[in-house]
Amino acid sequence: MHGNSIHGDTNVVKGVGVVNLWQKIKDLLDGDDYIEDKHSQVPLQGFANDLKYLKSTLGHALDFVTREFQLGVTGKRVAVLYIKSLADETKIASEIVLPLTSLAALIDDPDVRHKPHEAKQVLSASNITELTDLKQAIDGLLIGHTIVLVDGLRVALDIDSRAKLGRSTTAAEIETTILGSKVAFVEDCEANLSLIRQGVHSPKLCIEKFMFGSTDSKRAFLLYIQDLAAPDMISELQERLQAVQVNELKEINYLQSIIGISPLSPFPQAVYTERPDRVTGNLLEGRLAILLDGSPEALVLPIGFSDLFQSPADYYNHSLVTVLMRGLRFLGFLLATTLPAAYVAAVTYNYELLPTSLVFAVASARSGIPIPPIIEALAMVVVVDILQEGATRLPSKIGQTVGVVGGFVLGQAVIQARLVSPLVVIVVAVSVIGSFATPDYRISGLIRLLRYSLLLASAALSGIGIAAVWFAVLTHMASIEILGIPYLRPVAPLRLSSMSDYIFRKPYRGANPDQSDRLDKEQHL
């Protein structure tokens, strides 16, 4: 979403001038989202006017609190404004309202409008910003800050009073491992940064902030380790992040397509992880990570296709066990995508592939089945996918019941009714189980897409159809480069030195294991 912002006065944009209206329609037709200009300003215009403006803008919200009082001999007015549901009221009382009483002497000073710094010093809260723009004050209020207006003061004070919302760190729920760290990210970016800091004790850890949204209200942090991450890669991602212009960025999941890394490709091109140890491991391998306010996940890139088959548990197991597990995951992926299609091709066209004894077994299993193999396989795959989707939406206990009813009862019933052969039930079951073997759950969508494409291709053109789809997919994968790193590395281009943490994982001996697969643009191209 690289929309061009419409600059200039907000009123002009909202107006019905023919030229502006045409521009807006044109932008909408071009697919660019209309973006409100975040640079327009509403300057301070005196205590009463400022207060009126803020009340008229946010007054309709029940949780918007305005506390007004008079201070000092001269009775100067002070207003403390905040949003109750976002701000920490205890902090406001102790660090803002109470110290404001000390401000009385200052208020009585006729030169007060020239002493905003002294006013700041009176308040005990940290992180105070002077504002001259009321739009910024509204932005601050919307993220839990408190705005203090003092009659006669030429600035408004923006004080960070955000309440600790959300949950404390919990164990990972999606990327669970038996061994190793259990902690997962939370919605609070600062907490997530500290979790990463605990894993990377290096002064070279760089953290850069980027602001997103029409009101610059969403913060994103780009993390990398200097000297480990390739400078070209960093600068390319920085440019992409700086170019982002969106009205609203709800989740980190949107970020991959927004920053323009092959948005049309169904292949996962970044790792979304809830595990800080996975992020730190990747940072140490020279990758980049992005954290976003409100997202309990980090985005790690660039990744290769092989990275989708790696699990944090691999580094807690013996290297031989890891080799076996990674091989099984890849086999699971192949079975999940291709087995139903191979079954259809083998029993429809290419029965010459099967050994003679197996041909007889298949023929006897299929005898009396009224529907052709493709319909049989397609129907079973569709039913299983619907069951899987249904089980995901339901509470875990009911979901398990649906799985059992669907898997066992329905499977048994269709075999007894002679609607499908037992063989297709086995094939589809193995295919579905194979799809669970991949550690990255985002790959399951890709597996389904490939499974259906291959099924239809095999029904039309036998094994040639399967080969055609796979080679087409391979051309697509070969075309993908993420921040200059080929998606198929280290197989293509072949880098034997990087194979140490691909299908194989070298035992840890001597050298720092985390740096064995350091990404280097020159090295991989």
């Binding site: 010459e352 080969a467 072949l494």
Partner: protein, 365 residues
Amino acid sequence: MKAKPSITTFQYGILIVGALIANGIFTLPRVVSQDAGRSAWVVIAFVGLVVFGIAALAHLVASHYPGQDPAEWSLTLLGPVLGRLWLFSYLIKSCFFAVLTAKIYAAIVTSRMLLTTPSSVIAAIVLIVSVMAVLAKLGGLARFSEVSVYVWLPLLTLFVQIIEHDQFYLLRPIFGDASVSDLFKASRQAAYSFAGFDILLFAYPHLHKQKAPLRTVLWAMVFVTAVYVLTTIAATTFLGLEQMTRILAPTLTILSIAETSIVERIDSIALFLWMGIVVITAATQLYMGTRALQGIIKGVSYHKTIMTLGSFLLVITWGDTPLREVVAVSAIFGDFDLSFVAISVVVFLVLIYIKKASQKNAPFT
């Protein structure tokens, strides 16, 4: 415009292997044995050596223009009119061989497996995947080539397994059953199987390190020649000369006899996996054609050129041609590619040296 470095030296070699190997592996043993008899494998080795010589000369030409491909330097060397004429010939040659490659594969598939499917459908699929591979640019095409070659490589071991050691006498005496003219004719027909090595002219400017790639050309040519010789030896010793010359794709026939406990017919698997190599060959020709067209019409976009050329090829590919006819066409025009590239390369080298000499002798440079 300087080409963007996007391929490694190894990928440079793999591109040459991929561009060559699809053309002859199934049909070459029969085509050459028909005329050369027992000497077929020697003829193939000899043609391989000749092609390496031409490839080395082509490499020498390419190394004079490290940042450009023939679409650019041909215009500098030959001038705008002659240069465009040469590029047009190149375009025709590339289109012809891309279509021929797809058609041979399609004819083999429909004659052995999908008997009721029109071969145009298979040829169209090959061309569509080839267009996709070319859209990935040379870097993407090189990566695709790498994976496709790796996938097919294990099948080569089967050919070694098939060689009948007690029939080695069929490979000697070498020149016992063919005259020199027969051997020459066989060499010309074998030349088709080496069509496409000129991709090195177009790939060279995209190399990351333009050092020692001649060694890469050497191993690529040796590899291809070795595969052709191996398949010919396997087919000759297994089938015998008489039977082999009656079969259109002897290599597939011998694979169909090979058995494993899991898969009964390896030839079907080989045919599926072979599609990747066929795509590389067609795609490299398509890439060269695209660049030639871009050289003729300056400023046209890469993507639009590929899509136009791909659509054109899809149209002219339509229509079923029996395998025998397609193989016959490839045998007739087999040496066209080799002759065209060889003559072009020699002319270019002469022009380059004349140009250099004139620059050297110029009073003020």
